[in-house]
């Protein structure tokens, strides 16, 4: 199954993105806790792209594609025309250092890395894709 969603690049749209992801995952009998962490990971990547990639410009948009196969292999593509930050090679800061520096940001991508199985940046001629994958154990 494949689902897609396109929204303007505003922070206020994050709530709609979360609702979309939850709605899709709920259809596939994924546990509530798994749904909530996956929704969080997608929210984090989209927030990052909207804020840092597009400076919250409502004239720009990002696209989200979700693919789910029969074995509950989940694939989330965040598709954009700007160059995406390479989360795959991102070095996690230590939580203790973030606290000492009293920074309010910089931990979202740690969450994404801990939640997802794999993160890949695919650069194509006209678009870039941030592909997040996760295998859900069938219950």
């Amino acid at each position: 199954m494949k689902y897609s969603y396109k929204v303007p690049c505003t922070k206020e749209k994050l709530r709609d993105i979360r609702s979309f992801v939850k709605e899709v995952l709920d259809k596939h009998g994924i546990s509530e806790v798994d749904v909530s962490t996956l929704v969080l990971a997608i929210d984090e990547v989209c927030a990052n792209v909207i804020i840092h990639g597009h400076s919250c410009n409502p004239k720009d948009s990002i696209e989200l594609e979700i693919k789910i196969d029969k074995s509950q292999n989940l694939e989330f593509d965040i598709i954009d025309t700007v160059d995406l930050f390479d989360i795959a090679t991102y070095q996690e800061p230590k939580i203790e250092d973030v606290i000492k520096q009293q920074k309010k940001g910089g931990i979202g991508l740690i969450l994404v890395k801990r939640i997802m199985d794999d993160i890949e940046i695919i650069r194509l001629p006209k678009k870039n894709i941030c592909r997040l994958t996760k295998k859900i154990e069938l219950t």
Partner: protein, 112 residues
């Protein structure tokens, strides 16, 4: 969307967080904590029983005060996290770095 109410109860300030704290709304939580500090309070209880969702932006707000609270001898205790929200704190290990209790009674007892 998030609403943060602040009520003074006895020797502490109670901040009640209602709704979703994400990248668009975390500033509200930040402002509320900042105002509570500016008003001179030294003891804060954060009621999260109606906090439906938190992303890193919200966690970042709580984390950013840990050091300041330590230096200024301010105590903050969070309580009432639902299972999904508690899980987010745990993924980052914040349940070990912040004081989190299940109920208001436990939180008040820990506040001293």
């Amino acid at each position: 969307m998030v609403d943060v109410k602040r009520i003074q109860e006895g020797n502490y300030d109670l901040l009640t967080v209602v709704g979703d704290v994400d990248a668009s709304s975390s500033i509200e939580l930040d402002n509320a904590i900042e105002e509570a500090i500016e008003s001179g309070g030294k003891k804060f209880l954060i009621d999260c029983s109606n906090l439906d969702y938190i992303s890193s932006a919200g966690l970042g707000v709580f984390m950013s005060y840990i050091e300041e609270f330590r230096k200024r001898d301010i105590t903050m205790i969070i309580y009432g996290l639902n299972e999904k929200v508690a899980n987010v704190f745990e993924i980052l290990g914040l349940d070990q770095l912040l004081v989190i209790k299940q109920t208001k009674e436990e939180a008040k007892a820990a506040l001293g």
